[in-house]
Symmetry: C2
Subunit: 152 residues, 2 copies
Amino acid sequence: MGNEKQVDAGREQVDTDAFLRSVARLHRLATRNAANLDVPPAQMRLLALVSDLGPARIGDLAEADHSSQPTMTTQVQRAEAHGWLTRTPDPDDARASLIALSPKGGRQLAAARAARTAAIAPLFAELGPRDAATLNRAVAIVDRLLTNPSPD
Amino acid sequence: MGNEKQVDAGREQVDTDAFLRSVARLHRLATRNAANLDVPPAQMRLLALVSDLGPARIGDLAEADHSSQPTMTTQVQRAEAHGWLTRTPDPDDARASLIALSPKGGRQLAAARAARTAAIAPLFAELGPRDAATLNRAVAIVDRLLTNPSPD
DNA sequence: TTGCAAAACATAGAGAATCTATCTAATGTA
DNA sequence: TACATTAGATAGATTCTCTATGTTTTGCAA
């Protein structure tokens, strides 16, 4: 029947379940190997996000991160307590603040990225150039999907 | 300079940091969209794992899942309480038990997979066949990396 | 065969990451 | 001016995970 894995060449679809499972397993492995780092995973995500977005409001960060506003409030408070983020009043709206990466936060992000890469990169070492290229292309595709304003 | 993204054709390497970040963002999105399901993420991972491995000991499950033994003990106890997993004494070792998927667990796994797929698949709907094929290939590569006995 | 280190699992305690529900304060508009 | 809306903050509860430690079997060795 050739239904081995909808490889139908012409209208191939993503095997969503396999995809999600791989993501979950990868995330498990990544957070485990990064457990000894001094920046917890959610804080990493936040620092990288603020680094990309520049000064942004809590609500915007929550939306971009696909998390709830209370969650983002808490994460920002933690990062602020570490001195990684700064908060300035939004000149246009007294209810809001603008969250930005501090110099210390920038250094911490760079250091954590390096440490995290050092911890995980060996896993990829055995991959040939073809497979590595495939993974890089997959990352680009996913990033595009995640960054686009979800159309629903 | 063309160092845009180590695309050097010949000795391309995985951009580990971008890769890990995408995984973290995907995991965030996936767990959020699956939040209303009745099988929490870690339990999903466990049921899928047991479904693959067949009857296995706690320690083997922990190793395959890249998590600690106490964590696996807890997760197994929860799944057991739901009637999703069964525990039988290991005939070869009175200290150990063999964990297996119950019929109810199998049904729950299938249902949860379907629900999860329905929740996430729309994200992939807009992808063309080329991109879908790339993602499927990436999943295969990653699964191979994750399943191989890590050589360290 | 007894004794003890090792192995397999369970328990305790703590911290991170989330969510929903709700509260406060500022905006904007009728 | 009054009231609905919006931006964040707070409270309380889960889930998920870890390290440290305890308990029971095993298995080997004297």
